[in-house]
Symmetry: C2
């Protein structure tokens, strides 16, 4: 029996890996024949990374450019390198990104924390100086819409132990795979069709919000009373977008959000995060932020406040908002009511805001100069069924948007 | 008992890893404070790669730039990519190499085949088109002597199974670690001192050979009757060299050879390889090559001939010699009498020649125009205790150099 069960699980797992890889390549990045595909991975993610490479070559990719980031190497840097050098990034990192954009490449990144506790005990001020694997130029190619890209989760043993500490390691990994498979709709008979349907629903919500021409959003709940002003041309989108060359792609798998870029000058009030945030190698829990005239002027947390505080001092825009996103309780992630310690999953469980760089394509050209600019883009979750979201129209009328996690529009 | 033994082995292994990493960083590459360190690794080599990163940062490195090459991704390319695209290399690969040189970086590469059988069944003509992870520019920075670099072996489970198919996997890995530790003199109380001593002996041999001002070498043994003409200014070296900035480093750990660059026009006769060669993902065994006026004009093998034949048609210089090297039986690798299926180890077990690019620093400026040029540099082993090596002086006198594997000078 045991060996038969083991066999079944292996086959199951291989099937899930292939199905997820296929979804990532065909639907997420929508890789086109002749494209270079940048593939960002980490040690421990080889099975999915290799399946993606194979799916990409089957889809006609010209070259799959694997880059593997090892957080253990970054950890050694934090421990032993001259602190004055921690901001250094080799010039070829950015050059590669720019070239990927010039050559109209596809890009795939695998998320999911590997060695999530490794940076415990490192001075948060140091952590905030080295933002790798993020490079500044990756935001540029997103905003220039020259790359069809996607980020998707890759289960690993260490991530599974973080999410399900109560389970045996093998069971935890199995559970994580099962939940990720569900969240990514890979358990549907036709995952792509399932995503098209969900996307259509999100597009319909975004269209309704656009027609309301809101001036601001108001979030009210435990520890939260926050007003986020919008730009006159802020438009709502879901994560189904197109490159300048017309390649439609889904930048996040999974995605459950509608989002826009707010006015970086008009966020007021205070907000309490509803999920932990894992950023720059540090866990941030119980985050509380007060905004005045758009700036985060006070920032505290139960854990990890220093890291985030350092990040908000990174540049002119890193203490202001670049995104606001709404997520309803239909989200497959939200309905699991689990913390994944991975922004991609957690941000699609709940409404959220992001400090840092805004998203050009969500704002009319005439307001581009007003979009927040930063090297960073840090999402954190502020929504829950206990947080009421209200739209404020230009005339001042208040329209309920989310109550108890359900759309009111 | 079992757990105590397990513990002991783990500690032993950790100690070996740290000692090898330290040797690679301090003696091999001789990393200098403030340097960028390029670190080329593969999946499965994380423990040593991370120890090297840590040792490099302790030595004052500014940044360790890890690049991980996954042969499984290359395999997917071979299976599914358009064959016409297989020669494509993203421009940032070469650009990175050039910049590494410009910035006077250190470079460390970990050898040892991972998934050695993966390319079985792939058309050898296709294999010869994709030379990655080798990039043309890496030979340039070696020849410009702008980087202090080293290549060193990293034991992995898959490599161990290839070398010791008769052992249980865990025993095979333990055996490979033990032999690599011995070969790399990490089992000496002071490995650096042990290497300095061996290097001094090799320098003495090189000096003697230089004083002989040889015109050619002659190799005679089973299946071998080969004359390799030298250039007027061919000088003998061992693998302890200096960058243009005076950083002394050991480009190979281990190293047991003295070598020079021959005249690419004057190799004549036939030669039979004395060890298998693992190149471009293919195993080449029983290699037999006939040279006329310097060119490999006939090439056959028991296995893998097509791959090598394709490679020799790569460019103008890929069928001519760029190196000739002599290894005596004092080599710790040679005395194990084992095939490691890894050029770095196997080439230091036996005398060898290399098709492709020559080594500028071994030849006087006046003969630089005569050095062989190629994108490739493929070493293959032609020496054994059964192969007599004789020097031919300019006047025609013949001087025994190696007999029964022992130096005669």
């Amino acid at each position: 029996m045991a060996s038969w069960v083991g066999q079944m699980r292996t086959d199951d797992n291989q099937r899930r890996i292939l199905a997820l890889a296929d979804l990532i390549v065909r639907f997420g990045a929508n890789v086109q024949p002749g494209q270079i595909v940048s593939l960002a991975s980490e040690p421990g993610k080889e099975p999915l990374a290799r399946a993606i490479a194979e799916a990409a070559y089957r889809a006609g990719a010209k070259f799959v450019d694997l880059s593997v980031f090892d957080i253990h190497v970054k950890h050694a840097r934090m421990l032993h390198a001259d602190p004055a050098t921690l901001g250094f990034v080799p010039p070829w990192y950015g050059e590669r990104m720019r070239k990927l954009g010039e050559l109209r490449s596809a890009a795939i990144a695998l998320t999911g924390p590997v060695a999530p506790r490794i940076m415990d005990g490192i001075d948060p001020a140091l952590l905030g100086r080295d933002l790798l694997p993020r490079v500044r130029e990756s935001i540029e190619i997103v905003n220039q819409r020259v790359s069809n890209w996607t980020a998707a989760p890759c289960p690993t043993a260490s991530w599974a132990e973080l999410v399900y500490p109560e389970l045996e390691p093998a069971d935890a990994l199995e559970r994580l795979w099962r939940e990720v498979t569900h969240i990514c709709r890979v358990d549907e008979p036709d995952p792509v069709a399932a995503w098209e349907e969900r996307m259509d629903a999100l597009v319909a919500v975004a269209d309704k919000l656009d027609r309301m021409r809101l001036d601001a959003l108001h979030f009210a709940g435990p520890g939260t009373d926050l007003t986020v002003g919008l730009l006159p041309t802020s438009r709502w989108h879901c994560a189904r977008i197109s490159t300048v060359d017309g390649i439609v792609h889904a930048p996040n798998i999974p995605t459950e959000e509608v989002f826009t870029t707010p006015d970086p000058e008009r966020t007021e009030g205070y907000v309490t995060s509803t999920k932990p945030l894992f950023v720059s190698g540090a866990m941030v829990t119980g985050l509380r932020v007060r905004f005045a005239r758009g700036r985060a002027v006070e920032l505290d947390a139960d854990q990890g406040a220093d890291t985030l505080r350092t990040l908000t001092h990174r540049d002119r825009g890193s203490a202001r908002l670049g995104e606001v996103a709404l997520v309803d309780r239909e989200s497959r992630i939200g309905s699991l009511d689990r913390v994944f310690f991975d922004t991609l999953l957690d941000e699609n469980a709940a409404s959220h805001i992001a400090l840092g760089e805004g998203l050009d394509f969500t704002v009319g050209e005439e307001d581009h100069a007003r979009i927040n600019r930063s090297e960073l883009h840090i999402d954190f979750m502020i929504g829950s069924d206990q947080v009421a979201v209200t739209g404020i129209e230009r005339g001042g009328a208040r329209v309920p948007l989310l109550r108890g996690g359900a759309w009111q529009i």
